[in-house]
């Protein structure tokens, strides 16, 4: 099975690669369009600025390749952090359009108690499962995951929301629509349950 981590110049690719290897699976890191179009599974990581990420995807002609593999060939894809946010319609950060795979907007945390809740949210938090999913199979409710972000995705269609998390307000921490998955948190940085989640994704 060909699992590909999409390299568009942003994101902690090596960490994702290592963690996927720990689940017992091989993975390659590439921006090669031909390989991406024939992938069985895709992982779209991301750390940094939304607009730069979108520009990088366009510049490397990856947007079309991703659309084809994900929307037409319906291969599974997991977006991580900024990678998940890219799947939205648009973002406040950089004020530009995303891949538009989800009817959603990416917005900045708007916190009232700024002494207790600093931005970015940096640290471990729990998830509340809003619908069943094989992504979280055999993972306990109290599992914690590592978050580091100032923006989050606001889904206009409630059924896209997979899990929610509390950080003064309730926000969407993971999404799923058909073959498309996204986590705001970093499973590759989240000890054993992050590893389990990645394994679950690959075994879908």
């Amino acid at each position: 099975m060909r699992v590909i981590i999409v390299d568009y110049g942003m994101g902690n690719l090596r960490s994702v690669e290592k963690k996927v290897n720990k689940t017992g699976n091989n993975v390659i890191i590439t921006n090669d369009i031909a390989k991406i179009k024939t992938a069985d599974k895709l992982i779209l990581p991301g750390v940094g600025h939304f607009r730069i990420a979108v520009e990088n995807l366009h510049k490397q002609h990856l947007t079309d390749a991703l659309n084809e593999t994900v929307l037409i060939k319906k291969r599974h894809i997991l977006g991580i952090c900024l990678g998940m946010q890219l799947m939205a319609s648009q973002s406040e950060e950089g004020d530009c359009n995303g891949l538009d795979w989800f009817d959603a907007d990416v917005v900045r945390f708007s916190i009232s108690n700024q002494l207790k809740f600093k931005v970015p949210q940096m640290g471990w938090n729990t998830l509340k499962l809003e619908k069943d999913s094989p992504l979280f199979r055999d993972i306990p409710n109290e599992a914690m995951y590592y978050f580091v972000h100032s923006y989050y995705m606001k889904c206009n269609s409630k059924k896209d929301i997979l899990t929610t998390t509390e950080y003064e307000e309730t926000f969407t921490s993971s999404i799923q629509k058909g073959n498309i998955f996204g986590t705001q948190f970093h499973p590759e940085k989240s000890h054993e349950w992050g590893e389990k989640l990645l394994g679950n994704f690959i075994n879908l």
Partner: protein
Amino acid sequence: MFRPRVIPVLLLKNQGLVKSIKFRNHRYIGDPINAVKLFNDMGADELVFLDILATRKKRSISLDFVKRVGDEANMPFSVGGGIRSISLIKEILAAGAEKVILNTIASEKPVFVKEASDEFGSSTVTVSIDVKKNLFGKELTYICSGSKATKYDPVGFSNLMEEMGAGEIIVNSIEHDGMMKGYDISLIRRISEAVRIPVVALGGAGSMDDLRMAVSAGFASATAAGSMFVYYGPRRGILINYPDVKEMSSIF
């Protein structure tokens, strides 16, 4: 629910881990990669590695070392020590580090923090501030492993760093370092109140209660410690340790 991070801070001197008291008397602790493995097993939230000789020796933390940590660590980790160039930050992040920690360069050239933040995202740029009172009792930030005073007071400097796009600030009290008698809560609180980005308390932690105080009274978003996680008992026997789930839930 969000839980404040508890972060072991590991100091590197050449190839080994060391621990200081008031930034002096560095005592050899052990092998750093071995420490990573132990912290993996104990489920540590995050790790910080600081090469304390780097700036003084005009070099930076070893990329090879960062890769070895990256290959081993199951949790996010940050590194610092003589980091002064964008290209090095790029390599360090590619080697698996979550964040880079800037100290001396942030004082000497604050706009470098902005350059790094613009390039890699603010959440990958942490600024660490070492604080001590000078001979006249004035609180100042120090650089070069605490050997040189700057003109900056810690609150003013924190504000400047937030403006420059730092994603997080580590506040370290030099006088409390290694004493294990508690953090400088007043310092931590003043900085937490001054900025809207996460503040990490460091310097002086000796007990779980100290960690709790840093959050409840100091409004820190995360607590960090060195001695507390490498020593055990009143005679300071060397033992890598970390709170278990039960101890964590008792304070947060």
